[in-house]
C-alpha cells in the first residue's frame, strides 16, 4: 500500500470526507451498541431525538455547542499556522478565572460596560497563557505540544488552589467554588426561561470574525503561509515568529472566551467541573471542520448533539452515555484518516 499526492478537488468532493468520517463513526458505534445489547437503529434514533427532537433538546445542544465553538476556533486558528495548541482547556479555565475575579463585584459597573471589559480581560488572560509556550517555541525551540498539554494540568491545579483559597465562596458550604458573578456580569438568556444565552451569539460572531481574518486579511494570509511553509514565508519577508505570536494571542483569547461564556452565561460561578474537556473536544471540532472557522460552528453543534443526545438516550435505553465519548474519539480518528485521503490517493498493489 502506498500514498500518492492527489490534485485539487471540488468543494463537493471535499465535503464528502467529513461526511464519510461520520458514517464510519456511526458504523463503529453501532457495533458497540450491539455489544451493549441494544438495537443500534433505535439507539441512534433516541440520540437524534435527544439532540434535536424538541425545542428543549435543540436549545440544549446549542448551549453545549457554545464553548465547543470557541475552543474549536482556538484550535483551528492555531493549527492553521501549525502552532499545536493542545492547551485550550487551560486557556478556558483562565478565562473563567478572569471572569469571576472581575465579575463578582470588583467592578460595580453597568452591564453594557462591564461585560465587554470582562470579555476582553478574559481574552487577554488566555492569550498571555499561550504566549509563554509560543515564546519558548520560537526562542528556544521547545515543543509546544508538550508545554501546552502540561499547562492544562498546572492551570487546573492552580484554579483548584484559587477555589480553595482567595476565590472561595464563603457561603459555599465548603465546596471548592467561587462566588456567583453579579447580575450585571451575566450574559442574558436569548429566550427567557431557557438556558441558551448570548454566549452562543458571541460564538457565531467570533466564527464569522475568524473566518474574515483567515480569508480576507493580511494576518490570515501570513498565518497560512507560515503554517504551510515557514521557510518560504521567511524568505519572502514574513516575520514568522511575530506571526506565531499573533496566532498564539488570537488562539488563546478565543479559548478563554469559552470560559467567559460558560461562567457569565451558564454556570454563574467557577468550579473545577466548568469544562468536561471542552478544550480537548475543540481539537475534534476543529479537525472535523478541516480548520474552517465556519465549519467549526457546524462541527461543534454536531459534537454537542452527540453528547446531549447520548445523555438522553442513556436514560431511556440503558446504554451508557460513554458511547458519546467513543463516538467523538472515533470521529477524530476517522477524520484524520479522511483528511489524509483527501490529499493522497491510496494505491494497493
Amino acid at each position: 500500500m502506498r500514498l500518492e499526492p492527489k490534485p485539487a478537488q471540488s468543494l463537493a468532493a471535499t465535503l464528502l470526507y467529513p461526511v464519510g468520517a461520520i458514517v464510519v463513526t456511526l458504523g463503529f458505534a453501532a457495533l458497540l451498541v450491539l455489544a451493549a445489547g441494544a438495537d443500534p437503529l433505535s439507539v441512534f434514533t433516541l440520540v437524534a431525538r435527544g439532540a434535536a427532537g424538541s425545542q428543549f433538546a435543540l436549545l440544549e445542544t446549542l448551549t453545549r455547542a457554545t464553548p465547543l465553538i470557541f475552543t474549536g476556533l482556538a484550535v483551528a486558528v492555531a493549527f492553521r499556522a501549525k502552532l499545536w495548541n493542545i492547551g485550550a482547556e487551560a486557556q478556558l479555565y483562565i478565562g473563567g478565572v478572569a471572569t469571576v475575579v472581575l465579575g463578582t463585584g470588583l467592578l460595580p459597573w453597568p452591564s453594557w460596560l462591564l461585560l465587554p471589559i470582562i470579555a476582553v480581560a478574559a481574552m487577554l488572560a488566555g492569550a498571555l497563557l499561550l504566549l509563554g509556550p509560543a515564546l519558548l517555541k520560537t526562542r528556544l525551540g521547545v515543543d509546544e505540544v508538550v508545554t501546552t498539554l502540561l499547562l492544562n494540568f498546572i492551570v487546573l491545579l492552580f484554579v483548584s488552589m484559587l477555589l480553595e483559597g482567595v476565590l472561595k465562596d464563603p457561603t459555599g458550604l465548603g465546596w471548592p467554588q467561587s462566588r456567583k458573578v453579579i447580575e450585571a456580569a451575566q450574559l442574558p438568556r436569548i429566550i427567557q426561561g431557557k438556558r441558551l444565552h448570548y454566549g452562543f451569539v458571541l460564538a457565531i460572531v467570533s466564527a464569522v470574525a475568524v473566518w474574515i481574518i483567515m480569508k480576507k486579511t493580511a494576518l490570515g494570509y501570513e498565518m497560512r503561509a507560515v503554517g504551510h511553509n515557514p521557510e518560504a514565508a521567511r524568505f519572502a519577508g514574513i516575520p514568522v515568529n511575530r506571526v506565531l505570536m499573533k496566532t498564539a494571542l488570537l488562539s488563546g483569547g478565543l479559548a478563554a472566551l469559552a470560559g467567559f461564556s460558560e461562567v457569565a452565561g451558564l454556570k454563574g460561578n467557577l468550579t473545577l467541573d466548568l469544562s468536561p474537556g471542552y478544550g480537548y473536544s475543540g481539537i475534534v471540532v476543529a479537525m472535523l471542520a478541516m480548520l474552517n472557522p465556519l465549519g467549526v460552528v457546524a462541527a461543534a453543534i454536531f459534537v454537542a448533539g452527540i453528547f446531549v443526545g447520548a445523555d438522553a438516550m442513556s436514560r431511556s435505553a440503558g446504554v451508557p452515555s460513554y458511547i458519546a465519548d467513543v463516538m467523538v474519539a472515533t470521529a477524530l480518528l476517522t477524520m484524520v484518516v479522511a483528511i489524509l485521503l483527501s490529499r493522497f490517493r491510496v494505491r494497493w498493489r
Binding site: 493580511a218 511553509n229 519572502a236
Partner: protein
Amino acid sequence: MNILFGHYVADEGTVEAFGKRLPPGDPGAALKAGIGMVHQHFTLADNMTVLENIALGTQSLWRPRLDRAEARERLVRLADDFGLTIQPDAFVSALTVGERQRVEILKALYRQARVLILDEPTAVLTPAEAEALFRTLKLLVGQGLSIIFISHKLNEVMAVSDRVIVLRGGKIAGERRTAETTRADLAALMVGQEPTLPPIVEVPFGGRVLVLEEVSTGGKSSGAPLDRASLTLKDGEILGLAGVSGNGQAALAALLSGSEPATAGAITLAGEQRAPWSTLEALDLGIGRIPEDRHAVGTIGDMTVAENLILESYRSARFCSRGFLDWDAARKFAEEIIAEYDVKCPSPDARIRLLSGGNMQKLILGRALDPEPRIIVANQPTRGLDVGAVAYVHGRLIEARDRGAAVLLISEDLEEIMALSDRIAVISKGRISSVTKRGQRSMQQLGELMAGHGLEAAA
C-alpha cells in the same frame, strides 16, 4: 525512473530485471534486484551521520544496534576503491551538496547495486569532480555494472555513455549509439528542433551599484560562510559567479536577500555605505531574489498561484488596505504574470504544487522581476529545468540586464556562466576571486579556481 525503482506504479506495462518481473510499487524489491538510485533531490537524513545514512535499511531493525565497525570497514573500502573520499562520521547536515551526492552514490554501491540510476548527477559538481565521477562510472561499468545516466547536459552524455535514449514528453524520441551521433543530433531530438541560444547583446556597463569589500558572514546559512569576500556589481551587466555549491553561495545570496548579517566588511549600495538590510528592506531597495530551492524556499506548495505571487508584495497598497487583502487585485496580477511569463497553469487558484518545475520557476521569475528590481540575485536559477525552461530563464535575465538591472548569476553550471555573463568571478571556500571579462579565463582556469587553486593569488 520512479516506476523503475518502485516509487510509482505504472499504469500499464511491466518492469523486468535480470529476467525476473519486478512487483510494481516496491522499492524494496527493486533494491534487492540490484537497482540503485541516486536522486537529483537527495534522500538523506540530515540529522544522522554519513555512516548511519548509508547503513540505514541494510541491517535488520531487530538488531539491538548498528554494527558500526563492520559497516564502517565496508564503507571505507568502497570509498577507497572508487576514489570517493568521505568522512563516515560527519553529519549530513554539515556536508555540501556535492558531498551529499557522493554519499548517495556510496549508498547505492553499499547495497551492491548492479544497475545504478543517476538523475542529473553532475548538476552540482565542478568540472574536475565531474571528470572524477565519469572515471568512477567507467570503473563501475568495467566491473559489470549497468548505469543509467540521466542528464540534460549533452556533452556529459556524449562523454560518458555508450548508448543514448532521448526522452521527450514521456515518449522515447530516439535511440542512438554514442559513437554514431553528435551533440546537435541529440539536441534536435530533445527539443524537436535546433535549440537557439539567447543572443547576447553588448551593452555598456553602468555605474557600480553594489560593492562588497572584505565582507565576512557568521555561518548562519548552509555551506561555507563568506570569508573577506569582495565583489563589485555594475548596472546593466550579468555578473556570473561560478563555484561548486557549498562554497559560500548560500551565505552571499542570504546576505544580499537580507536574511544573513555580515560580521565584518563594508557594503556600499548605490554609492552609499550601509549596514546589511533585512528582507523587507531588500525588497524596498529593489533587490529581486530568485532562490536556490524553488520547492522549499521559493514557493508554498499548498497555497495557490495567486497567493504565491503576492508573497513579496502583499503589504503594498496595491493588494492591501488597512490589513485587508484585495484578492481580486491579486488574482488579476496573477493572470497578468501567467500570461506575460507564459506559465502553463489552469488558473490563479490552482495550488502551485501541481505545477512543473519550469512553470514554478517562471512564476518565481515573474514575482521577482515584475517590480523591475535594480539588482537581481539569481541563485542557481536553472537547476533541474528542461532545455526550454532554461532558455526562457536566460532570456528573461538578459532582458532584465538590457533594461539596466545588475544581475548576479550564481551558478554551478560553467557553461551557463560562460554563455550568459558579461563578467565572471569564482567563489571558493567563501572567498571570491577577481572579476574578469568573459573569455579572459578559459573553462579550465575557471575550473581550477572553483577547485580552490590559486584563489589567494588571484584575489
